[in-house]
């Protein structure tokens, strides 16, 4: 349904060039380059401690790289604040739900719409009386299926619903690119399936850089996969290419099987992916 990514003429929406970050002797990011092109889901995988969180933090703007550049929509955003990058069209969801828990579901979504529109310094007119904002928020809630819970306090949502709300808030931003940090974490099998089909359609709105542990989801969804090991991207390519990459099998998949024994049980068909990848 999406056009094949290799050889695409479209310019990347998000691009990381030669990103390097060290904490003392530990090099958490080593000359990382990757890009995100229109219409694709680009998955980033790697064992625990590979440096995924550090990389996301640098892309989102929470951490300044030692070297390298980050480009968003044709502009270099390397020195920009998190908020400025968000305004420039980078919508992220958090690994651990990051919502204003005392607010209602609708208020959280409206906050996103407000951020997208700007003009926060308005002191008099009630924010929920602003039809444009509310409509935009409701549309996002409807897209993830939370419209009936709009008046509920966010703290009362279930874990899965909070994940959905995370995505809805990202939607209100009408972003150029999504940055999703383990959106499936902690979802049950059916929840994961629903979210997968949702993300599948979402890439048409804006491409997704997806960090995900659920191999099943990654191999089913991703147009391209990058593998991060010890701070380095050791391979990038289609699912098939990654499955066949000897270095990936050696450095990542073997270890993954050891390091994350729970993965299989949790992700049902997880073994299948590895099985195919095995020689």
């Amino acid at each position: 349904m999406t056009e094949p990514v290799n050889g695409s003429a479209t310019a990347p929406v998000l691009e990381v060039r030669g990103l390097t970050k060290a904490f003392g002797a530990l090099v958490a990011s080593r000359d990382i380059s990757l890009d995100l092109r229109p219409g694709e889901i680009h998955a980033l995988i790697g064992p625990n401690g590979a440096g995924k969180s550090t990389l996301i933090a640098q892309i989102a703007g929470e951490l300044a790289p030692d070297r390298g550049e980050i480009w968003l929509g044709g502009r270099q955003v390397t020195g920009w604040s998190t908020a400025a990058r968000a305004r420039a069209g980078l919508a992220r969801t958090f690994q651990i739900s990051s919502l204003a828990m005392e607010m209602t579901v609708l208020q959280n979504a409206v906050l996103g719409a407000l951020g997208a529109r700007g003009k926060v310094m308005r002191f008099f007119a009630p924010v929920l009386g602003d039809r444009a904002l509310v409509e935009r928020a409701m549309a996002a809630l409807e897209a993830v299926g939370l419209q009936d819970l709009a008046a509920l306090r966010t703290a009362e949502l279930s874990h899965g619903q909070r994940r959905q709300l995370e995505v809805a808030v990202a939607l209100t931003l009408a972003p150029r690119a999504f940055l999703m940090d383990e959106p499936m974490a902690g979802l049950g099998a059916s929840g994961s399936r629903r979210l997968m089909s949702f993300l599948d359609g979402l890439r048409e709105r804006a491409p997704i850089l997806l960090i995900e542990h659920d191999m099943d989801a990654v191999f089913a969804l991703a147009d391209r996969i990058s593998v991060l090991v010890n701070g380095e991207v050791i391979a990038t390519g289609s699912a098939a290419r990654i499955r066949g990459d000897a270095r990936v099998q050696e450095a990542y998949l073997g270890e993954e099987a050891e390091a994350m024994p729970g993965e299989e049980a949790c992700a049902g068909a997880g073994g299948e992916g590895r099985g195919e990848a095995a020689p």
Binding site: A83, E102, Q107, G115, V120, V169
Partner: protein, 328 residues
Amino acid sequence: MGVRRETMVNTLLLAGLLAVPLWALWADEPFTITLATRVAILALAGVGLNLALGTGGLVSFGHAVFFGIGGYAMGILAFHAQNYTPLIESLSIPGTKSMPVIWAVAVIASALVALAIGALSLRTSGVYFIMITLAFGQMFYYFTISWPAYGGEDGMSIYLRNSFPGVNTLVPFNFFAISFAALLAVLVLVGRLMRAPFGLALSAARQNEARLRAVGIDPYRLRLTAFTLSGAITGLAGALYADLNRFVSPSMFSWQTSGEIMIFVILGGVGRLFGPVAGAALFILLEHFLGGISEYWHIFLGVLLLGVVLFARGGLIGLLAGREVAHD
């Protein structure tokens, strides 16, 4: 349901605060009116702090600075007016005894100082923020004590209460009405502000800063604005308080004053619009009632405060109106 109950409690509070001095007027108990005026003014100071502390999550231990600046704005202007000396010699700008002018000066001066203190302090967070605001408070306190021009530690007395167009402010009830009106006006404004885009974003900055940044809003500017508004409101309260006492002194700047304003907010209920009104009323009531029973009344105040912090986290409003509900 909870929303409606809180609204009811709030309405009753205001009605009580208005009814008591009306009764006192009828019963010829002018001191009761003075006490009610004090509640209204201290509540106003608390509403100011509550904007930063309750809505914005900025635990300022230095709001006495703004209270004191408001007070000194009144003291200095009225001092020059009653002595017929110019405020600024070279420009021959006179002092004034007009409340509206004094308020404007108090609000602007405290807003400017809050802007400066906030711009510096908001670079820190958590305990550091608490302590740096305390440090600014101490700087102002020691400065006013040793600054001889306006009385130093002695402070300044104003012999006649300042004037308000068309109102005889010397009548206790009239001054109560002025203070009560100021409180009402600020409550309405802050209430609107909390529902406006600014309030939503500020509240989000307290609950989850990362979320706010992720939707493209920079919390620093929001917080600085909130801190400035908060300081301006507390400054207005300071000017009124000085007029109530017809007196200002460095004790308005002391860290205990900061602590007391904080107590109003906590006793009443952090983040509740009417929390400071309930808190100030309870505090004055306790001070008056316990103070009459024992000279060691601070012990009881301490125990009560401890009880509220440990067991009644919603404060008085929380007890009466139940658990907080999200604003609609």
